[in-house]
């Protein structure tokens, strides 16, 4: 784990930060889920290396997108940041304060500032609670009594997310998927958070509803200045929502850059392959960019490949790739803040199609 040192150093100088301390800073974050086996006494026989040495920083009001395929560790990262999971290694600091192993009591004030929006609007709302009590509960837990009472605040929030405040006493099953997701958003906003971790917030919704929720989140972000960690597998949605984007593969960040750099000048072969695989709703016969077809599947995170984890599917892989894990650094030709973890970064820019 010597590699990320370079990465953090160059990213620190390059991110557009006004203050010295970012809102959230994660370094060397690692989560290994142990696997138990054996008989009659079970013992640890291995580990799923879900997240393996992650460095990230999120500035105040910034939206960072985390993309990658299933199993790349993006959701685990989200859960580690919100401390719903206990990290195996590395540090998480919020406003310069180390919260990696903070106790429940120490975490309480921080937890009210970091909120989460979940993917499934059906399983993330308690069917036995009214919308009012769902949105109210964060205030109850934290003993907060806003001016004018909790109910007034809930009604304001319902209005803010585009729901009818009159629906205060309804139950989740009376709402459609898109409306339920709005309830989840309202709940996340109850305590005026500074950072929201949104884990695939729109992927369970229909296209037309998805656009409504994306626009809502965008507006809230602009109005309330909330920073976002936006986790999604849909590259187009992430491009729309996030100023900076990190691409993950098998528990590691392979490339992180400002939106324009990542989508127009991707340097990592995996980023290129991912971008080229997205089907686009254009009627043109010739695709705008060359299709890169990756063979095979993502290897198991239980025994990831040595060196560069992408090498088993990479068309450029050499012996160096198997021997050494490429550090996440500013590759030659990258603009400031654009880090790539590859021994042989791609060079040609993608065609900017008209």
């Amino acid at each position: 784990m010597s590699s990320p040192v370079n990465g953090t150093a160059s990213s620190a100088s390059s991110t557009t930060l006004s203050s010295a301390t970012p809102l959230l800073e994660v370094s060397g974050l690692t989560k290994h889920f142990p696997i138990y086996g054996g008989f009659p006494i079970k013992r640890k026989v291995g580990a799923v290396q879900a997240v393996d040495g992650l460095d990230l920083r999120v500035a105040e009001g910034e939206s960072l997108g985390l993309v990658g395929e299933s199993g790349c560790g993006k959701s685990t990262t989200g859960r580690l940041i919100t401390r719903l999971l206990e990290p195996t290694g590395g540090t998480i600091s919020y406003r310069g304060r180390d919260i990696t192993h903070a106790s429940r009591r120490q975490l309480a004030p921080v937890r009210s500032e970091i909120q989460m929006i979940f993917q499934d609007p059906y399983s993330s709302l308690n069917p036995r609670q009214t919308v009012g009590s769902i949105i109210k509960s964060p205030m109850e837990v934290n003993g907060i009594e806003p001016d004018g009472g909790r109910e007034k605040r809930v009604r304001e929030l319902l209005e803010l997310v585009g729901l009818n405040p009159e629906h205060y006493n309804r139950f989740p099953h009376e709402f459609s998927g898109g409306q339920r997701q709005r309830i989840g958003v309202a709940r996340a906003l109850t305590l005026n958070p500074k950072l929201i971790v949104a884990d695939e917030p729109v992927s369970a919704l229909d296209v037309s509803i998805q656009a409504q929720v994306v626009n809502l989140l965008q507006e809230l972000r602009k109005e309330l200045g909330i920073a976002f960690v936006f986790i999604a597998h849909d590259l187009a949605v992430v491009r729309h929502f996030s100023e900076r984007v990190a691409v993950m593969y098998l528990g590691r960040i392979v490339e992180i850059a400002d939106r324009a750099d990542l989508y127009e000048n991707p340097r990592h072969p995996y980023t290129r392959a991912l971008l080229s695989a997205v089907p686009e709703a254009t009627a043109d016969d010739a695709p705008a960019r060359e299709r890169i077809r990756l063979a095979g599947d993502v290897p198991s995170p239980i025994s990831p490949p040595s060196g560069c984890r992408f090498r088993t599917r990479c068309w450029k892989a050499t012996d160096t790739c198997a021997a050494q894990a490429p550090p996440l650094v500013r590759a030659e030709g990258n603009s400031a803040g654009h880090l790539t973890a590859c021994h042989y970064p791609e060079t040609a820019r993608l065609p900017v199609d008209g």
Partner: protein, 341 residues
């Protein structure tokens, strides 16, 4: 289209439920020729999956009322007996489902499941069926097919399971393949592999494919013709180029405007369709899209709320909307320039 392979005329699929009759499909017609791919787009509850279950005769016969005409190679399927359908299913027509894990039996090996269909329709022996299964797995790109044929579904990854399902669907070289959101649960890189595979197989065998999806990007990649469904009806159809480049129905326009893109400006908000899809138990009067339509007041005399627009199809192109063609050109002009950027 001369001599279509699959021809559906005025299909109605109504379910009787405790709360009333759900008109899941309410008057749908289309044709599909061999070697072509028809993409059916629509949101959840638009009737796209139900239509295709009806084609295969997989609907719940007890609670479903069907009406209209489904002709497969000249044979009427709606009046066919279960026995006749069984002979066709898996043989002349077959289907790929969205959730491969739920569609495969966990207790049987992949090879046995692929071979079962083959044995049933050809009367082949176990040994022949196994050889055929290995061959099919090789064709859909499973590495070491002679070993993997004896694996169980849980030993396959998501993409491999979907490939195995495709192998199962294609084992008897069907002439019609219905793919119901076959790539929705997959990652983009695997999705691209599966779509390439379908295209290759189609070129090889001239299969007619109905591809159901909610993703217009996938449609753009794989379909020749497109049919847009809303609330159990077709609102627009045409060739892929016509529909994606020059959408004529406000709903199609709305779908395209809802999709973020990998190109173009980033700071412009998306233009979503307001509201949510209609209840099919109690659908809106007149045009089913009118409660969500931005152009309703442009139509005189409140026809949108009172009169159901008729889908007139000329040369495979048609739109069910009360707006006059000239009006549309004017109203959709902003959109057209935005798309051209």
């Amino acid at each position: 289209m001369n001599n279509p392979f699959l021809s559906i005329r005025d299909l109605k699929v109504h379910f009787s439920t405790e709360d009333g009759v759900v008109k899941a499909v309410d008057g749908l017609s289309f044709d599909l020729a061999k070697g072509r791919t028809l993409g059916i787009v629509g949101e959840s509850g638009s009737g796209k999956s139900v239509t295709n279950l009806a084609v295969l005769g997989l609907h719940d016969r007890e609670h479903t009322a069907l009406d209209g005409e489904i002709l497969l190679d000249g044979k009427e399927l709606l009046t066919a007996t279960e026995r006749e359908l069984e002979r066709l299913r898996g043989n002349k027509m077959s289907m790929i489902f969205q959730d491969a894990l739920a569609s495969l039996s966990p207790y049987h090996t992949i090879g046995a499941q692929i071979g079962e269909t083959y044995r049933k329709h050809t009367g082949a022996s176990r040994r022949e069926a196994r050889a055929r299964a290995v061959d099919m797995l090789r064709r859909v790109g499973i590495p070491m097919p002679d070993v993997r044929v004896d694996d169980y579904p849980h030993q396959f990854s998501g993409g491999m399971r979907q490939r195995a399902m495709i192998a199962m669907a294609l084992v008897c070289d069907p002439e019609l393949l219905i793919a119901d959101e076959p790539t929705t649960a997959l990652d983009v890189t695997v999705q691209a592999q599966i779509m390439d595979l379908l295209k290759e197989l189609q070129q090889e065998f001239g299969t007619a494919i109905v591809f159901i999806t909610h993703d217009l990007g996938v449609i753009a990649d794989i379909a020749d013709d497109v049919l847009v469904m809303y609330g159990g009806r077709c609102v627009e159809q045409g060739s892929k180029k016509e529909v994606l480049r020059d959408p004529q129905h406000p709903y199609t326009l709305g779908l395209l405007g809802s999709m973020p893109s990998l190109h173009g400006p980033v700071d412009v908000p998306l233009s979503p369709i307001p509201g949510s899809p209609p209840s099919l138990l109690n659908p809106p009067s007149g045009c089913r899209f009118h409660p969500r339509c931005a152009f309703m007041e442009k139509v005189d005399g409140g026809r949108c709320t009172s009169l159901q627009p008729v889908l007139e199809v000329v040369d495979g192109r048609g739109t069910a909307c009360h707006l006059a063609p000239g009006q549309r050109r004017e109203l959709f002009a902003d959109f057209a320039t935005a798309r051209a950027l």
